[in-house]
Symmetry: C2
Subunit: 427 residues, 2 copies
C-alpha cells in the first residue's frame, strides 16, 4: 500500500459538514426547479466514447476519462484509442441530447428537464478546478421561441434567490450578434469560431491582448483586428442595462432576428420577475461551440467567473436523432455558488445520548428509537473523561441536547438537558 | 451516428416518474439515517485501480470499469494492465476504508457515516442486475463491541419502515460460527473460504448441490461433505427465531465469543425496537471475503434476494492505515427495494399554466412566479387542439389545477380551476 493515502488527483473527499452543505444546496435547487415545472431525469455516468468525441464538446473532448474495454486479451498490446469504448461524461448536455434521441417516443412535444449530477474532466488541477464536480442543469426541449430562454432565466434566477444569493445579474448575448460584429470588421466566416475563442479571453487579456492574438495567431489583417478592437472598446464603455442603446449601435450586419430576440427576452424576463437585473453584453461568447442563438450567463459581484451559463442549441439533438429539435439550457456551476450561499440552520435538533459501559445496549437503543420518533437527530456517544472538551465538540457539531443514558428510568420520559455553547478557556 | 441510440449496455436512463420515485426514496433514507446520528460523506467515483484490486473486493474486482491513463502516446501500443491507472468503485466500503485512512486525523474516535451513491460493476447484464446502481450504506468506524452491529440493524430497519416496507426480517450469523461448523465437519482451514462460496449457493442449488460441488470441485472428502450436509439439513428444519435453541445445537468448535455476540445483538436489537424480527441463520454466508465477525441481511417475503446486507470488517481499514480500526457496516440494496416501496403522493400541488400565442410572454412568466411563490409546482403548457386528451395527460402527470393564461386579468388574483380525473372513453 502507498504510504500516503489520498483521493484520486484533482478529486475530493467531502467530510460531513461540507457534504451536508452541498446536499442542502442541492435540495433547494431541486425543489426550486421542480416548482417551475422542470422534471428530473437521470442518465448513466458513462456514454459511448465515440459519442463523447463527436465534435460537440469543444475543448472538453480532450479531457475525457476513457474506460478500457472489458474482455481484452491481457497479453495483447494495443493502441490507446483501440483500448477504450466508453467514457465518463464531461457535461450533462450531450448525454441529454442522447437521452432525448433515445426516448423521443415517450417524451411530449415540449419537455422541461432538470439534471443534477456529477461530471468528470481531466483538467490540470488548479485552485477552484476539480476533476469531478457537480452540475445543475435545466433544459427546455422542443420550444423554438424565446419563451424557452426567458423561462430558463426566470427559473434559474429564482433558484439562486432560494439559495440566499443576492445581487446576481444576467448577461445576455446572441451568437448571431457576435457573427454580425465579426462580419462588420471584415473577418471571414471560416475564422469566426476560432476568433470567438480569442474574444472569449477578453476578461483575462484585455482588448489589446485580443487584437494582438488575432493578428499573430490567426493571421487576421491589421485592419480587421483594429476594427474589432474599436468595436469592443466602444461597447465596453456602454451601460449594459441600456439594451435599446446598445442594439442601436450594432452594425447592419447583425440580423434583425437576433435584435428582436434580445428585446423579446429582455421584456419577458423583466416583466416576469422585476427583481432580475439584465445586461446586454455583446462581448459575451460562452465556450461551447454548439450554441446557435441566444447565450446567457449569471454573474455575481463576489465571483470572478460566472455562476451559471447557458444558451440555445437547436442543432445538437439532430446529431443523434437525425431530425433537429429546438432546445435551450441553463446550467448552475454548483462548485462556484457554494461560497455565496446563505443557508438556514438545520431545523432538526441534535441530541447526544451519552453512555458508558454500565448502560445495557438494548435500553440505549430503545431510548434512541424513542427520541428519533419524537423528531430528534440522535447520536450515541460514549462519555469521555474530558467531559467539557467533549461537550464543546458536540455543540460545535450541532448537538443541542444531552441525555445521559445512566439517568434513564423510563424511555417514555427521557431527561433532555439543553447543551449550552462551550465557554472559551475552560480545560 | 449509430442508427439506434441507446444508453451504455447494462445502464439505464430514468424518465421523470421513475427518477422522482428514486429521489423520494433517497430523501427518506437520508433523513432516516441522519435521525439515527449518521453523518453523510462523499468520496470520488474513481479510485486508484491498484487499491480497487488489492484483494479485498472478491469477485467484484473482476468487474471493474478501468480508466485509461491520460497523456499516453497515441502511437505506442501497450498492454491493457499498463494502460490504466484508475477505476470506478464497485462498492462504497472500500472507498470508505480509504477515506478513513486519508482523514484519520480529523475524524473522532467513533464515526457513524452514511453514503448514498452509485457504484459500477461490469456484470453480465441480466434481469434485475445493472452495471450502474445505487447503494445506501451506513458504517460505524471505531466501535469494537456489538453495539455497532445492533445500532446498524435498528437504524436500517427504521429506514425500511420509513419507506413503507413492512414484514422485513433480519437474518443474523457470524463468520466464526461458519468456520466452527466447517471445522466440526473435518474441513481444513485453507479450504474454508472456497467452501463458503459454495455454501453461499445453498438457496439456489440446495443441500445436495452443495455437497456434490464440495466433493467434485474442491476435493472435499465424502465424509466431510456428508457431515456438512447433515448439519445444514439439521439447521434448515429449525425455527430460526429460536436463537437459544440453535446456539445449543452448535458444535463445540464454534467459539464462545461468537455465541455471545449473537445473544448480545439479539437482546440489544429486540429490546431496542420490538418491531424487529430477528432470525439466526447459521447458513448465511454473505459474499464479501473481508468480513471478520457478525454478518447480517434483511429479507422480505416479496423479494427473492436480500434487501440489505452487512457485517463487521475489522481488518480492512488497516490495509490502508497500517493500524487496524474496528468497523462494521450495513448497505441497503437500493434497486431491490424500489419495488417494495409505499411512498406518499407529492404534497405540492401541480398547476398547468395553459397559454397560446396571444399571451404576452412576460405576463405568463409573471403568473408563473406568482404561483410558485404561493407554493405550487407550475408548468407552462401550450394549449393543444385536442383539449380533453391534453387535460387527461396532465392529470396523469400529477397536475391538479389549471390556469388559462388568456383569463388572467391580475397576477395577484389568478383563476385556478381544479382538474378532475379524465373520464374514460371520451375522444
Amino acid at each position: 500500500m502507498a504510504t500516503s493515502v489520498t483521493p484520486v488527483r484533482g478529486m475530493r473527499d467531502f467530510l460531513p459538514a461540507e457534504k451536508e452543505r452541498r446536499e442542502q444546496a442541492i435540495a433547494i435547487i431541486r425543489s426550486s426547479f421542480a416548482s417551475f415545472g422542470y422534471q428530473e431525469i437521470e442518465t448513466p455516468a458513462l456514454e459511448d466514447v465515440a459519442r463523447l468525441t463527436s465534435g460537440l464538446g469543444g475543448e472538453n473532448e480532450k479531457m475525457i476519462f476513457a474506460v478500457l474495454r472489458r474482455g481484452l486479451d491481457p497479453a495483447a498490446p494495443l493502441l490507446p484509442r483501440n483500448a477504450v469504448d466508453l467514457g465518463l461524461r464531461f457535461d450533462l448536455t450531450l448525454p441529454l441530447a442522447r437521452f432525448v434521441a433515445t426516448n423521443a417516443g415517450v417524451l411530449g412535444d415540449v419537455s422541461r428537464v432538470m439534471q443534477i449530477a456529477p461530471v468528470w474532466r481531466a483538467e490540470r488541477p488548479q485552485k477552484g478546478r476539480f476533476r469531478q464536480f457537480m452540475q445543475c442543469d435545466i433544459d427546455i426541449i422542443g420550444e423554438p421561441s424565446t419563451l424557452g430562454e426567458s423561462e430558463l432565466i426566470v427559473a434559474t434566477s429564482a433558484a439562486l434567490r432560494a439559495l440566499g444569493i443576492k445581487d446576481a445579474y444576467v448577461r445576455l448575448n446572441d451568437r448571431e450578434i457576435l457573427y454580425g460584429l465579426l462580419e462588420a470588421c471584415g473577418l471571414d466566416q471560416p475564422l469566426f469560431d476560432r476568433t470567438l475563442i480569442v474574444v472569449d479571453k477578453l476578461d483575462k487579456i484585455g482588448v489589446d491582448g485580443v487584437a494582438t492574438e488575432l493578428t499573430t495567431k490567426l493571421g487576421v489583417s491589421d485592419q480587421s483586428a483594429t476594427a474589432l478592437r474599436r468595436l469592443l472598446e466602444q461597447f465596453a464603455d456602454r451601460d449594459q442595462t441600456d439594451t435599446d442603446g446598445i442594439l442601436a449601435l450594432l452594425p447592419a450586419t447583425v440580423p434583425t432576428a437576433a435584435r428582436e430576440r434580445m428585446i423579446a427576452i429582455r421584456d419577458a424576463v423583466t416583466t416576469g420577475d422585476e427583481r432580475i437585473q439584465l445586461r446586454l453584453d455583446v462581448s459575451l461568447v460562452r465556450g461551447m461551440g454548439y450554441y446557435t442563438g441566444p447565450i446567457f450567463e449569471i454573474g455575481h459581484p463576489a465571483s470572478s467567473s460566472s455562476v451559471a451559463g447557458g444558451g440555445r442549441y437547436d442543432r445538437m439533438i439532430g446529431r443523434f436523432l437525425r431530425r433537429d429539435i429546438p432546445a435551450c439550457g441553463f446550467s448552475i456551476g454548483f462548485e462556484r455558488i457554494l461560497d455565496l450561499l446563505d443557508l438556514p440552520e438545520d431545523a432538526q435538533a441534535g441530541v447526544a445520548l451519552l453512555y458508558d459501559d454500565t448502560c445495557p445496549t438494548g435500553r440505549l437503543l430503545q431510548a434512541q428509537v424513542a427520541l428519533v420518533e419524537a423528531g430528534y437527530k440522535v447520536r450515541l456517544v460514549r462519555a469521555a473523561k474530558r467531559r467539557a472538551t467533549q461537550l464543546g465538540r458536540l455543540y460545535e457539531d450541532g448537538i443541542r441536547f444531552i441525555v445521559r443514558a445512566a439517568d434513564i428510568q423510563d424511555v417514555t420520559r427521557l431527561p433532555l438537558s439543553p447543551l449550552t455553547p462551550p465557554r472559551p478557556g475552560i480545560e
